[in-house]
Symmetry: D2
Subunit: 136 residues, 4 copies
Amino acid sequence: MYTFRYSFRIRYADTDQMGYAYYGNYAKYYEIGRVETIRSLGFSYKDFETKLGIMLPVVNLESRFLKPAFYDDHLTVETKIMELPTKMITFHCNIFNENEELINYGIIKLFFVNMTTNKRVSAPELLISKLKPYFD
Amino acid sequence: MYTFRYSFRIRYADTDQMGYAYYGNYAKYYEIGRVETIRSLGFSYKDFETKLGIMLPVVNLESRFLKPAFYDDHLTVETKIMELPTKMITFHCNIFNENEELINYGIIKLFFVNMTTNKRVSAPELLISKLKPYFD
Amino acid sequence: MYTFRYSFRIRYADTDQMGYAYYGNYAKYYEIGRVETIRSLGFSYKDFETKLGIMLPVVNLESRFLKPAFYDDHLTVETKIMELPTKMITFHCNIFNENEELINYGIIKLFFVNMTTNKRVSAPELLISKLKPYFD
Amino acid sequence: MYTFRYSFRIRYADTDQMGYAYYGNYAKYYEIGRVETIRSLGFSYKDFETKLGIMLPVVNLESRFLKPAFYDDHLTVETKIMELPTKMITFHCNIFNENEELINYGIIKLFFVNMTTNKRVSAPELLISKLKPYFD
């Protein structure tokens, strides 16, 4: 398993009139989590597109809201890759508030798509080789 | 069961560099679906807050992405309430493109929360009375 | 001069914890205004990109906030093209609430950019020909 | 004059189908700039609302787009307070890319509004006292 934690702050733009971070913004927080997780492995999500010609559209999202997040909260997204990706990659994101309470979790599945053929492909070898040490 | 269809358009603001509607925006499309569904029943989501003192935070979201949506697409969100709400209300949202292809569906569960006590309450009688004719 | 009015609704996603439409969302409302204005002339903004190979990045934005907009407000954006576009096109957007009070206005300037060469070009003849009758 | 620099990253959620950060997102980047600038002075924007009962709606925004920002760019917003605030506070925000090229600047004016009376008030003494040393 590979785990990475990254912190970010709730902005005014994120709040709604309940005074909560709007539920639609969590997809963006998961994005931050998975992109920084990939960066922590030594390359960038951007490389998928520009170097490998592969994009990763989201195919499935599940999200559970346990407690609200508030303006200016400094949250931490803990992203876990629990299985070596094959045709699909799954990220498990747990979001914690400053008291280390779990306030939300999400499970996000993405496909690998060749940007030229627009067809699904397997996880690129580059990604597998970076992840493999954590799964032996 | 109660069903309502409402159409909206994908804006440039909604797109990402894949040329797709960003996956995080679908939560907003589901919001449009459920708010217009409630309005079609003869009152407004706003009334929950201002007249009944009840807010509806989202507790769970599931979302499946079947096909991408593109800039300027005129999409239709079909929202179904399949059970009379009790402690929770569940909306099933199907999103269709202009060719009536199902491109995404979402299941969204919300709680009823008394804005004064901040405690969960049952679905207000006003909502039940509007929905009941569709469930007999 | 060419003028077009288009109505839209403030969504929960648009609000912030002041209970106002977040100031950053007005850029999107102006986008709605100019896109629907172009559509009312008989073609679509999308055609600029797909048929003419021209994109229109924003170069300047001015925005004045007179009154707040609130959740579920049904606003109208009145978009004016006051001069025939040359190297640049300028949209004047006035946003009115349901009481026809002016709550915000914006002035947005965009360039025409050839998507292949990435260089600035003049307004396409197609657009000029549609607008000309309103400027004689 | 008081100046503060803060860096942030362009997310996929921020991009549009031109591959640029959508123009409407810059308002959020200015928000990040001014909030972190206030924090650097030793208190938080949140304190305005919760401790002083003052909120700061934006009254005017001017924004100039010189170069696009791209996905995953690590940008820096340099925020300047050039005058001691009175009835209004003005933030000058310059946004630089990783090559220290100025890509955008914005001027944002905000009022101080008492949240109880909903009336405009002068800049709170607490803010003035923090800024004064930089204006002597």
